[in-house]
Amino acid sequence: MIPELGHFALWLALGVSLVLGVMPMLGAASGRSEWMTLARPSARVLFGLVAFSFVCLAVSFANNDFSVLYVASNSNRLLPLHYRITAVWGGHEGSILLWLLMLTFWSAAVAQFSRHLPETLVARILAVMGWLAFGFLLFVLMTSNPFDRLFPAAPEGRDLNPLLQDPGMVIHPPMLYMGYVGLSVAFSFAVAALIGGNLDSSWARWARPWTTAAWFFLTIGIALGSGWAYYELGWGGWWFWDPVENASFLPWLVATALIHSLAVTEKRGSFKSWTVLLAVLAFSLSLLGTFLVRSGVLSSVHAFATDPTRGRFILAFLVIVIGTSLGLYAWRAPTVGLGARFAFVSRETFLLGNNVLLVVACGAVLLGTLYPLALDAMNLGKISVGPPYFETVFVPLMTPLIFLMGIGPLARWKEAALPDLVKRLTWAAGSAVVATLVVLWAHGGIGFVGALGLLMAFWIVASVATDLVERLRPPDGTRVALLQRARLIPRAMVGMMIAHVGVAVFILGVTLVRTGEVERDVKMEIGDQTEIGDYVFTFRGAREVPGPNYQAARGFIDITKNGRPVTTLRPEKRIYTATQAVMTEAAIDTGLTRDLYVSLGEPIVDKSTNGAPATGSGAWVVRVYYKPFVDWIWGGCLIMAIGGLLAATDRRYRARVRQAKAATADRPSVQVLRPVTAT
């Protein structure tokens, strides 16, 4: 009964999404406000129905209802309850339902927090989101219904993919999807503006917090995925340039460009058509990512179900959504206008550089991801593109981007004096070089790329510090208390500084892991030792340990540093009962400056035990990794995300302030005389 209710709710939702897609759009076109006012309640009802359906599926999982095909394929009685709930998005059907839930959540959020927006704009935005929901609902109902029954019911479920039985996987997909789908808000803003034809700086101000919020979730989602790969796949790597990873990285790159471009559009009225294009592209790339992951056109370590029917549906959806919006863009964007002029040396120019570099980087990653597919489609053979390509292309693009990141925030809008900029940044450049030289002198042997990485990281920190000091220093000798000056810095500005420092932390992590990591695969018998630097790893043997739905061989490795014990790591090799899948569970001792990473490879098979792993006595291949500063990679991402969160919650975006200013909202869009504040 419960699955049928969930299924029924989806059909109702389909109807509501159609109403949401059609009525407010017609209302906005013909000026009928009673049709436009349908938008908000419809969006809320839509969210309610999809949420209800989602809960129905979750209840079916919690109750082990193996008469539902999707539950039987992705769960098991032995699976602990928390993983039974998260198994809801462990397979294709549930993932799409989660995507849909997020989409309707964002629509409901827009309905809630848009009271200050013109009624026609809200109507159009929500209508566009209604169409998106309609497409995805149709996709679920036609090709990916999670409520399909299995008759006769399975006595036992096939179990959740063991790779996904992990706390990181519990929150990674929701976060990533929040980001992916959150970009649909910026997309809908852009399409609504193109339809309505009024694209001014107040439009950019309304779109900014939504975009930044989506970017926040996307950043966290990608970082979680990377962290999951690091400790769950057992290879010690944190990014593989795998097609599925790239699929999440592409929208991130464009969303990052969009955040910066929106700043220009809001403050200066420039880059309008470019900003709109980026908003369309960011969500288009999210859809493309969904297509790549869900259709199976690319082979990937993530290897999701391959079903050409689903692929065809998503491709058709993709063509309709992206084709229509880009067609609309080609038709309407030429009338948008150019906005305020700016000099060659100005903040606009630096942000333009940022945009170009990010979009080119995105293009390069897209090319590398799709190149094998394109060659195959033209019958030119099968190839695969690996990390060497991506690294060769990516580093030269990021280096100038980081350079601009230091200069941009200090440059004035419209026109900046180059000598003045050089003077203000001399201190930052000098101290970055000195800091790099000090590290090189103290440690040495990190090579050119290592030195470049350090220089970039120090350059960011030093330039952010310069910016901060200039903002805190009282002008012309007036004595304003430091705290008071600090309070005057807008929250969005603080967010930007924090996010930029996050990039520096991230670069430090990447550089130091790259240059300082030690990876060793050794055969170890009980009592064997291996040394990395000051650390001595001693293998104490392995023994059988039962888990709830798996059998594990758990190894014990004592680690000492200079003779003093540090910790004992317990990596596991698990065999899951239902699927007979073998999983490697790495054990990591996390530290601020290094990770000690141990995972069990293969047992050395003893002929006398006839092929069975001789746990407790046998030797194992043990992977021992020393990873300096590796956690800074995710720390950096987290700091970036926090910066984004602060920027998105700046008070000038919040309702109360907006209402106070509502009367002035329709002022001429370009505010030339506004002093330099937040970007």
Binding site: G296, V297, P308, A330, P334, P372, D376
Partner: protein, 176 residues
């Protein structure tokens, strides 16, 4: 002219969509054999049922034939076998078996129980010839033409679909 620039994103996307549409109908895991249109590796192997009689590649010159790699330990071969037996009854071409990394007795036993679609089975106990042919999963099937050139390779069990859409048209072409 100015408007044309705004069309570029749309054009790029259309090109991309075409690539995706074509790519959708392909299997990313399907790896083509480098041996296609190359001469089949030479071999001289004993017959499965008779260690004293041998067959060489040269003996098969002048006819279009099929080489089916199988083994008694192979579960997928068991699944494929009835189809192969049925196909052999159509007498479209001679089918030779390559009993791969197997025991002679097990192999003969298997053919007795399951039916024998093969003109003859070559015994490759060590798997040497299999390696020359680039076999990495059993069953695999090759079609070799009159000049001893490999014209087709199929990895995994044959299906009625593969026979109807790939093998039979190819045979028409080769025998024409």
């Amino acid at each position: 002219m100015k408007r044309v620039g705004f069309l570029i994103p749309l054009f790029v996307f259309v090109a991309l969509a075409v690539v995706l549409a074509v790519g959708l109908n392909r299997d990313p895991r399907e790896v083509p054999s480098p041996l296609i249109d190359k001469p089949a590796p030479a071999f001289q192997l004993t017959r499965l049922e008779d260690p004293n009689a041998s067959i060489a590649l040269a003996d098969l010159r002048g006819k279009v034939w099929m080489l089916n790699v199988w083994a008694s330990w192979c579960v997928a071969c068991r699944e494929e076998h009835p189809l192969l037996v049925a196909f052999s009854k159509k007498n479209l071409l001679p089918i030779y078996g390559l009993d791969y990394k197997d025991q002679r007795d097990d192999g003969m036993d298997w053919l007795t129980k399951m039916g024998n679609p093969y003109q003859a089975s070559l015994f490759d106990g060590e798997g040497r010839v299999g390696i020359d042919f680039g076999v990495y999963g059993v069953p695999e099937t090759f079609i070799i033409d009159k000049t001893g050139t490999i014209r087709m390779k199929h990895i995994g069990p044959l299906t009625p679909d593969v026979i109807a859409t790939e093998i039979e048209p190819l045979l028409k072409k080769l025998n024409a």
